[in-house]
């Protein structure tokens, strides 16, 4: 399930960075990097979730690469914002390279690495990451990831003036899911009710991520020429591949909750 979430996040990054960097005419050759690396991450995720044909060390190498490239990408995007007139201001936050976006690659890599750690052990309930029980660590991590994605959707929807009321959904549903997941990360052991509330919100967030593709497709139809002019409007309109990153993180959080249940047991 975690490998699957990694693959899904990788796919989302691949499609999104391909469209956005094409829009930026691959002005800097480095802009090809996330396409290659997210494809690698996706492959690792698919391999991990299905046959596991690759040796674990190779798969982990792929995930680690993803984690590192995501971090470097954040650096590049920050540089792109800061070198523009005005530096860190609203205009550049709206239209320069999105600072937070590459972090999705790091998330995908980290989730994948955790997945392999968990698969290796026969006692996932005793496994620790950075000295923290893995269920708690992953819950906290995915909650943070969700909030990061909320920030990006919030910024972009603010740029779009929340012109459609449904644009409020990704800034209202996922924060609740993230808060509940964060609560699962820090609350004392012994909660054995299965956290139905948290799970429901996460499933809702996951479904919203898929529905978001439909909303964004509608957004494309409202641009000049609509879908008849898809070659420009898919590039320039609301990004079709972006919303499923909510789904990927929500699924990772659901997997983390399972580990939390084991730890509680």
């Amino acid at each position: 399930m975690l490998h699957g979430a990694s693959a899904m996040l990788g796919a989302s990054v691949l499609a999104d960075s391909a469209v956005e960097h094409y829009r930026g005419s691959f002005d800097n050759p480095g802009m090809y990097t996330p396409l290659v690396v997210s494809a690698v991450t996706m492959a690792a995720g698919i391999d991990g979730a299905s046959g596991q044909w690759l040796p674990r060390r190779m798969r982990d190498g792929m995930y680690a690469l993803s984690g590192a490239v995501g971090a470097i990408g954040v650096g590049f995007h920050t540089y792109n914002v800061l070198r523009r007139p005005g530096g860190l201001n609203w205009l550049n936050a709206f239209y320069a390279a999105p600072i937070g976006a590459p972090a999705a690659l790091s998330l995908a890599g980290a989730i994948g690495l955790a997945a392999d750690e968990i698969a290796e052990t026969s006692h996932p309930d005793r496994l620790k990451l950075f000295g923290i029980p893995v269920g708690r660590a992953l819950s906290a991590f995915t909650a943070l990831g969700l909030m990061g994605t909320v920030s990006e959707a919030g910024l972009m929807h603010f740029r779009g003036s929340f012109q459609n009321p449904f644009m409020w959904l990704p800034v209202s549903l996922p924060p609740i899911a993230a808060a509940l997941t964060a609560k699962a990360a820090i609350e004392p052991a012994g909660e054995r009710d299965g956290r139905p509330m948290t799970r429901s919100w996460l499933w809702l967030t996951s479904a919203m991520g898929i529905a978001g593709v439909g909303f964004h497709a509608f957004g494309v139809s409202r641009a000049m020429g609509g879908w008849r002019n898809w070659s420009q409007n898919v590039v320039d309109g609301p990004p079709l591949p972006a919303p499923p990153s909510f789904s990927a993180l929500a699924i990772a959080a659901l997997a983390a909750l399972r580990l939390r249940d084991l730890e509680d047991a």
Binding site: G160, S161, G219, D236
Partner: protein, 547 residues
């Protein structure tokens, strides 16, 4: 559109063009010519279009006339500068004075929606002190309205047009965040921003009347860049796509290709209706009120052409000020070359603004001005090369090869009111048999000081942005104002603060010609704000039985 089509009105038979659909129609209420409508409005631009919508929405019967055609932008507007000159008022005029104005694209429009159909969408507010320039700053004239009231109407217009602008505006009193987010700044605007920082001036993304996200039937702006030649996507929030559809929906009638030639004065100083030319014949529409909204040339021309035995010097002209105090705005530019490709024609032509010299009073000239980035289309650019630089032949060709590397700035300045600048009637007549306007204009010494100052500032900005081969376009003007100025005193003004003429209680003016001063910003937002105010005042007066 062929000549034949352009001579055939489209708004008739109970329907008008639907601007949002190719070949589409929208139902339109119609009034008979013998029915005395509440308001006959001459002109459908920023003043007339806005007022028609608001008066109709308040329940008045309204017929609005425009001399030009009713376009559907989606099918009628080409990506072609030459073809789009059909949007301008290019009828014959006589220009004279020491600095004769160039009439056309920069200062006129002849179609339903008026010049807002091809304006650069710059939507700025007057500095509060500019409404009391005489009292507070010692030049020009005072407006007979309070700035706080006007700023309230600015709020309304900005919401009605969903202005895309910055979240916080660097100059003047606090204002609400603009309804839509600013557009991205192109390379030319970024160069201006760098230059402003070099010169110690603040800058901001320009507040523009083109949407950065979908709004109703308007798609978001696609940065096509032909804004000043007619937006073919309807992202631009012109009177044609904002106010005219609202007017039609509220029951107003729009008559396109209807040239109003004379307002009829009845007994007791009241006007009774207007004579207009449509489909090859002169017609008469009865009206309880007539509003003239033809802008600073056609408004005084109509009032003067309506002279009759009871008003031998023209309507509303007992003060002798109809046609006087014509103002324009300096529109000089400075341009330079950058090493990196700039492709400055991308996006709306003006994307960066600095109002530094509107709000800073430490200067050696009267009035204020706004600086803005500038991205001319190719033909405009050729005209600047030929006109301002006198290039021709291989020099011209060589200069044009640098088109993708150019950056530039323009000023929109506060031209001072002078009683010597005027619109009068010439003896020649036009195709309707109406006497054509003579437009007399000369810069004042104050204007010349402002222009020189602004060009030095622009040059400093471009140098600060590392532009090379910098040159100046020393002669250019744009918006017009004045010629039917408003005031508190019937002896020194043509209309009162409501736009009502002092001489004829049911004759009104609603356009830029009522401006006592031009302010240092583009006038369209202020014209629309005044139209909203006039509509509210008319409603209040009607409720009190004082109409």
């Amino acid at each position: 559109m062929s000549d034949f089509e352009a001579s055939t009105p489209l708004a008739r038979d109970g329907r008008a063009p639907n601007v949002f659909r190719e070949g589409g129609w929208t139902p339109m209420r119609q009034y008979s010519e013998t029915e005395e409508v509440d308001f006959a409005i001459v002109g459908t631009g920023a003043g007339g279009g806005t007022l028609a919508a608001r008066l109709a929405e308040k329940g008045f019967s309204v017929v609005a006339f425009d001399a030009g055609p009713f376009f559907r932008p989606l099918e009628d507007f080409a990506s072609d500068e030459e073809s789009q000159s059909k949007l301008y008022w290019l009828d014959e005029r006589i220009v004279d004075g020491a600095d004769p104005l160039v009439m056309g694209g920069n200062n006129s429009g002849k179609c339903v929606g008026g010049s807002t159909v091809h304006f650069a969408m710059v939507s700025l507010r007057f500095r509060p002190e500019h409404f009391k320039a005489r009292t507070l700053l010692g030049y020009g004239a005072d407006w007979p309205v309070d700035w706080r009231e006007m700023w309230g109407y600015y709020d309304q217009v900005e919401r009605a047009l969903s202005i895309s602008g910055p979240l916080s505006y660097p100059w003047g009193p606090a204002r609400p965040a603009y309804p839509y987010r600013p557009h991205p700044m192109n390379a030319c605007a970024q160069a201006m921003a760098v230059g402003c920082e070099h010169m110690g001036m603040k800058w901001a993304p320009m507040p523009l009347a083109t949407v950065s996200a979908p709004r109703g039937e308007s798609p978001p702006c696609v940065q096509r860049g032909f804004c000043r030649f007619g937006c073919s996507t309807n992202a631009k929030q012109s009177a044609l796509v904002v106010w005219i559809p609202r007017a039609l929906k509220a029951g107003a009638e729009v008559r396109d290709l209807a040239m109003v030639g004379r307002v009829e004065l009845g007994s007791g100083g009241q006007v009774t209706g207007l004579h207009y030319h449509r489909e090859g014949a002169w017609r008469f529409q009865k009206a309880k009120n007539v509003v003239v909204a033809g802008y600073a040339i056609e408004t005084p021309r109509l009032l003067l052409n309506s002279a009759c035995p009871d008003a031998p010097d023209g309507l509303a002209n007992s003060s002798g000020l109809v046609g006087k105090y014509l103002m324009t705005q300096p529109n000089q530019g400075v341009f330079g070359r950058t090493k990196e490709e700039s492709r400055w024609y991308k996006g709306p032509p003006i994307l960066c603004v600095s109002e530094h010299w509107n709000y800073c009073d430490d200067k050696n000239f009267p009035g204020g001005y706004t600086l803005m980035s500038q991205g001319p289309m190719p033909q405009e650019w050729v005209n600047i090369q030929v006109g301002a630089r006198k290039l021709w032949g291989s020099d011209l060709r060589h200069a044009m090869l640098d088109y993708n590397h150019m950056v530039g700035m323009k000023v929109v300045g506060e031209g001072l009111p002078s009683v010597h600048n005027s619109v009068t009637l010439a003896d020649e007549v036009d195709q309707y048999g109406l006497r054509i306007p003579r437009i007399t204009y000369s810069w004042t010494e104050g204007d010349k000081a402002l222009i020189a100052h602004s060009m030095d500032q622009m040059q400093g900005c471009l140098e600060g942005a590392n532009a090379t081969d910098i040159f100046r376009q020393e002669q250019d003007t744009n918006h017009l104002n004045g010629t039917a100025r408003m005031g508190d005193d019937p002896r020194t003004s043509v209309v009162n603060p409501d736009g009502r003429t002092w001489d004829h209680p049911n004759l009104w003016v609603c356009d830029g010609s009522t401006f006592p001063t031009t302010g240092g910003v583009n006038p369209s937002l202020t014209i629309q704000a005044m139209a909203l105010r006039t509509a509210d005042r008319i409603e209040a007066l009607a409720a009190r039985g004082e109409l």
